[in-house]
Amino acid sequence: MRSSVLRSSVFAMSFLSSDTRIRLEARAVFPNGYSRELPFVSPVGTKLTAARFAPRITRSMRAAAEQFDEPLREAEAQGSPFVAFPELSGLALLGLLPRAEQVLDVLRSGLAEERHRADAAREAVQITQGFLTEVFLNTFSVLARGHRMLIAAGGLYLMDSGLLKNRQYLFSETGEVLAYQDKLILSPFERSMGVKTGSTLACPDTRIGRIAMLTASCAQHFEPFAVAAALGARIVTAGASPFGEDLSPLAARGREQSLAVVSPSFAAAPDFGLPQGPAPAVHLPQSGRRGPAASAQGERAATARADLSGPPSFDHYTADRNPAFFESLLDEPVGDLEAVLGEFRRG
């Protein structure tokens, strides 16, 4: 990979940025002050918002913050205390780098060839991680504090203990990172990039209930949703990704486990070569419908009201628990994970 282009761009931006400057620029999206009161959360109807995020090449940190702020403003107007962004939303900050078009071309060509993809991905992440993480975390911290919202902000790729991870973050209304979640089920492209899965599911308690951050790649699998429900989650996020997974099973997953599923998406992003994603959606367990329950569709967000006050919705037909069945399920001789994923793991 022509990493010198990437390296010089990142170096220039890193030189110009600092925590203080990033936070100052992000605070500029609140021209009327930064002292919004914590919004009231009704015990009988919590609003949940799925963002339709439109990443683009930006020329300033303020503009970069504004692209994340658009769905948040719509959510605030709807009175929603919670907004979810799609996974890898933080990669939009690559558009902040000098000569961003060239940088994106370099990244695309580096990742195009499967044989060298893992090396190219690792190198690119090592170069960009410090800058991207610093801007991403500080920007969302300020936005969460400014809007007084819980934000499942999506995330970015990073190296952790020598392993490449796809990590998502949850920010509290006071701007702290409440939890992070490494992607549990990877897309084939990510496996070829050498990304490693997370092994645990974070399920932090918030004032609207426990929240788990999943991904579109989980939609076909009951396991992450069942674990989230067993850990007490009432809300999960699972949104569109650049890898084009099928989101249609999400309504069924939410109904099976009595979970509200917030499914953010991407708007078309020609700068990043992203086509228009599916419509953002909120699936409510009690609706029993295949379609989303989002009641307010805006340009940049879809919001729905969920009643999370009582116990999870009860169904006469699916309430039975059979621990002995799970014993047999977990004891069964399953395929060796290392054997199945061996070539990717070695990469």
Binding site: V227, R321, V334
Partner: protein, 234 residues
């Protein structure tokens, strides 16, 4: 595998011409143990008369809710006990099996999903992991719980998530769902529900993610083996 022409019809109703596989749609909860032998005898006659593979009504055997598959010669090819029960049956203290066991037949490797097992994603996933190529289901639902939307949601959830075709009955509805298509759902008011399906195991592309998902479940195994995943009980 070759496509097979499947139909879901009311009990004892003749299938459409050239049908190879029939699932009976039974609006009653189950056939009592004392009447099960008589019911199965009639089912054998039906299978022979029309030359079809047949999934007859749900029935009780040794206090277990069961489903079976008969060959066109009327020979039982396999049977399955329910692994989960609705709360009425739990109150009746019916017994539960601990495993879905698919079996090989001339029309592919079949998993029978008895009653609410169709709504249990872990039961369907176990069938998929055991190599099932065709899901055959028969599920009782009270009329006031039965909607076409629920039938579609459950059928698509089971079939699409595992990439395996489904033929089944839910309450008064029949449903046939190929893995990547919208479920065909009907209530027999005018015609039986009939379509061709091609038996196929979970696709290779699902194998690696299925292993990752199973690894996650295994790492939280005690949440499920102690309480079945009930958050309130933990």
């Amino acid at each position: 595998m070759e496509p097979i022409r499947a139909a879901v019809v009311p009990v004892d109703a003749p299938p459409p011409p050239d049908t190879q596989l029939v699932v009976f749609s039974d609006p009653k909860p189950y056939m009592a143990e004392a009447l099960a032998a008589q019911m199965l005898s009639r089912a054998v006659q039906y299978a022979r008369r029309y030359g079809v593979y047949l999934v007859p009504q749900r029935f009780l055997a040794e206090r277990s809710l069961c489903l079976c598959l008969l060959s066109p010669a009327g020979v039982p090819l396999g049977a399955q006990r329910a692994t989960h029960l609705n709360l009425d049956y739990r109150a009746e203290r019916l017994r539960r099996a601990d495993r879905i066991l698919p079996f090989d037949t001339p029309i592919g490797r079949v998993a029978l999903l008895v009653d609410v097992d169709l709504e249990m994603p872990h039961a369907v996933r176990q069938a998929a992991r055991e190599g099932a190529q065709l899901l055959l289901a028969s599920h009782f639902l009270q009329p006031f719980d039965l909607t076409a939307e629920r039938v579609r949601l459950v059928a698509a959830g089971a079939s699409h998530a595992n990439g395996i075709p489904l033929v089944g009955s839910m309450g008064g509805f029949g449903v046939i769902c190929p893995p990547q298509e919208e479920p065909l759902v009907g209530s027999f008011e005018e015609t039986p529900v009939a379509a061709a399906v091609t038996p196929a195991a979970a696709p290779e592309a699902l194998r690696a993610p299925m292993e990752e998902a199973a690894a996650l479940l295994r790492s939280y195994g005690r949440l499920f083996t102690e309480t079945g995943g009930d958050a309130d009980a933990q």
